[in-house]
């Protein structure tokens, strides 16, 4: 199958099957990019940071990025159009009957399942990203002797505190994490 068609179809599936937008899409995106070898988990995490620091919806950003990496400008177009098409069509179809649609018991039941599964799916992504951040060399005792591990742990803990208790928005947290990484890198504390 041509790469452009593959891009279109993969992102079409994502557009058709992810509810809640943004971060709810990450588990699906992770599975897709790993399956095709388009990105590693680490690169995906880097891109989450880039996407947070640039305007626009995360899903649109990542479809454009992956499409461009894999198939140039045409690839970016195919992936992004694929992603946008399902919600575009579905919204136009149900916009007029939305009140009935909303009260339909099948829809309500499906929403119960979908809103719940998203929590579990993102939690699974947290686990795989956590493994990448702390144990990219595998789970070995040496990991606990390296400064890298404790620096990551420190940045993670402070970021979480700032996000949850200081209500800081993602962009300052990302820039702060980057600054700490750069400072400790040039100080020779961490090795990459």
């Amino acid at each position: 199958m041509s790469i452009l068609l593959t891009l279109f179809l993969e992102f079409f599936k994502m557009g058709a099957l992810t509810f809640g937008g943004g971060y709810a899409m990450i588990p699906f995106i992770e599975e897709t990019v790993l399956k095709h070898g388009w990105m590693t988990t680490g690169e995906l995490v880097d891109f989450i940071a880039i996407s947070e620091s640039t305007p626009g919806a995360f899903a649109v950003n990542i479809s454009t990025y992956v499409g461009s990496e894999v198939g140039g400008l045409l690839g970016a177009l195919c992936a992004t159009v694929g992603l946008v098409l399902p919600p575009f069509i579905i919204i136009i179809l149900i916009a007029k009957v939305y009140d009935r649609f909303k009260k339909n018991i099948i829809v309500q039941g499906a929403m119960l399942g979908l809103k719940s599964t998203v929590v579990g799916l993102i939690a699974a992504t947290v686990l795989s990203v956590g493994m990448e951040v702390f144990f990219s060399q595998g789970i070995k005792t040496e990991v606990f002797q390296s400064a890298n591990f404790y620096v990551s742990l420190g940045i993670f803990a402070i970021s979480l505190f700032l996000l949850l208790y200081k209500k800081l928005s993602p962009i300052p947290v990302i820039f702060l994490s980057a600054a700490v990484g750069i400072a400790l890198g040039y100080a020779g504390v961490i090795k990459v």
Partner: protein, 187 residues
């Protein structure tokens, strides 16, 4: 007809603006949509804005796309939906496409490697915050908790296919709701 085309052009330009200034996408976009569409242009009313959020949540796809399509359609039909959606996507498409041309070249720079080392740990915290906010929005009953736990275990420990997990969750949710309704109980 001429009036409609003018309206579509306005929709296109307004949504380009919305797409260009919203960082974080999704819900971050709602207050900006409110300001541009409802306060400045008076195209939709406040209670309709709530409907925009609700419809975006109950239909698949990114919230920004759903909201743009829905508002565009309400104001100027299918062409309006197209103009609004095209507008909201365009800024990020151009920006990310340009970034994608350069990113690989910068990747090997020492400073970028150090920066991303720090950033990866920070993004992990962003993801945990996302889990917490999704949990707050999710239903709170035994079926919902079982679906959350089972979805997590299926993907984390058994490498289950995400599409199958999503579809199964929808089916279980429908079955549980129908059974509860038949038994005359609230879930």
């Amino acid at each position: 007809m001429k009036q409609k085309l003018k309206l579509c052009l306005q929709l296109f330009l307004t949504f380009i603006k919305i797409g260009a200034v919203t960082f974080g996408g999704g819900y971050a976009m709602i207050p900006i949509i409110e300001n541009e569409i409802s306060v400045k242009k008076g195209w939709i009313k406040d209670d309709e804005l709530l409907e925009v959020v609700a419809i975006s949540e109950t239909t698949p796809g990114p919230i920004a796309i759903c909201a743009a399509t829905f508002i565009g359609y309400k104001i100027a039909g299918v062409l309006g939906a197209f103009c609004a959606t095209f507008g909201v996507v365009l800024p990020s498409f151009i920006i990310i496409f340009v970034i994608s041309l350069f990113l690989r070249r910068f990747e090997d720079l020492e400073i970028i490697k150090y920066a991303f080392f720090g950033i990866r740990a920070g993004v992990l915290a962003l993801l945990i915050k996302a889990v917490i906010s999704m949990f707050k929005k999710a239903p709170k009953n035994i079926i919902a908790y079982i679906i959350m736990a089972a979805s997590f275990a299926a993907v984390a420990f058994f490498s289950a296919n995400v599409i199958i997990v999503i579809l199964s969750a929808a089916v279980i949710g429908i079955a549980a709701t129908l059974i509860a309704r038949k038994a005359g109980k609230e879930l």
